[in-house]
Symmetry: C2
Subunit: 193 residues, 2 copies
Amino acid sequence: MADPRSSLDEQIAIYQREHRDLDPQVERVVNALSRLDRRMSVAYGRQLAALGLSSAEWEVLKELVMVGSPYQLWPGTIARRLGLTPAAMTHRVDRMVAAGLVTRERDTENRVRVIVGLTDEGREKWLEVMREASAFEEELLQDFTVKERTQLGDMLIRLLDRVSVQLDRSIPSSQLRSKHGQLAEVDTPHPHP
Amino acid sequence: MADPRSSLDEQIAIYQREHRDLDPQVERVVNALSRLDRRMSVAYGRQLAALGLSSAEWEVLKELVMVGSPYQLWPGTIARRLGLTPAAMTHRVDRMVAAGLVTRERDTENRVRVIVGLTDEGREKWLEVMREASAFEEELLQDFTVKERTQLGDMLIRLLDRVSVQLDRSIPSSQLRSKHGQLAEVDTPHPHP
DNA sequence: AGTGAAGACTTCACTACTAAAGTTCGAAGC
DNA sequence: GCTTCGAACTTTAGTAGTGAAGTCTTCACT
């Protein structure tokens, strides 16, 4: 790479000195992705902190809003979707109940289960964050034309599908779950309210 | 969005029901990025585990290889680059010394400082991981033409520059550091061995 | 020399997570 | 009807991080 256009290209040039077989075009994409995500996490973290919310709380709020009214999920479902253990969800829900963002109640149909529900305050917090976040995101993509945004989105979704295939292939079959959002219908306390 | 092409498009449609002002093209890009990074982290995590390495150890090895021979850095430098506190680095280095991946020694030129150096075993581990990882990454992008790879890389780097600007703008000026890799030359125990 | 301020790492107290064991409830088989 | 198995959450013990306080060294100045 004769004329690196960014610090990332410089870094990749160094990697190549250490390990010849690297494809620089591939490395560019992969390394840009991880750097980008790290910086965006920092940016979101600051915005959330300004609204008095932690990233952990935000993740849970998103899941609850995403299932739609009446905004209820079982703790185990949230844990699976976020890639956490049930134990971690127990504690997160504890904190969020204390903060007034969600409620925790026994499921009357199966008293082993627990239902986590969004409070009005939690719903309102979600909206506040989304208003700020969407402004930030809009600004992030301000230099991109509509066509470029579509292209970029399409390519990222192709990568997403691809990595999902690679992941499923390496998972012990006992852990396989139905793919994509299919669970939503059967994994929600009140599928059709 | 009449005809969602992926579970991601479905999710965005739900978000729009809850908050009208969202630009779906923007949301597609942003949400794909975060999903992609999460899944790739899982994939890398599995590969590393198979080689007996944690993600934390891998991050440190990368930084050390990246400065080139003689593969030495101060703990504080590594901590800054990884976005960790100095305290966290103290413990990481403890564990990695015990695992034989790095050495820790006092800097003879300034006895407040400590020098973390890569062992031959650490160097070899880095190579092992890179061999596996580059195969995985190559496969990830197998459906992309050379032109598409370049386009994607270019767009991601544009986003990277953009988010960096947005981040710097919201940082207290006392915390501002020189941008990009400029520190490398002055932030390494032996700049010109 | 001697003092004071600043810097670099470590230590301490605390927080959040994981893995595994424990508890309780519901369902299936005898 | 009782028992046993499995599922869902909670509890416990251990690990890795943060922020703040502490220790030692260097540097600038008297």
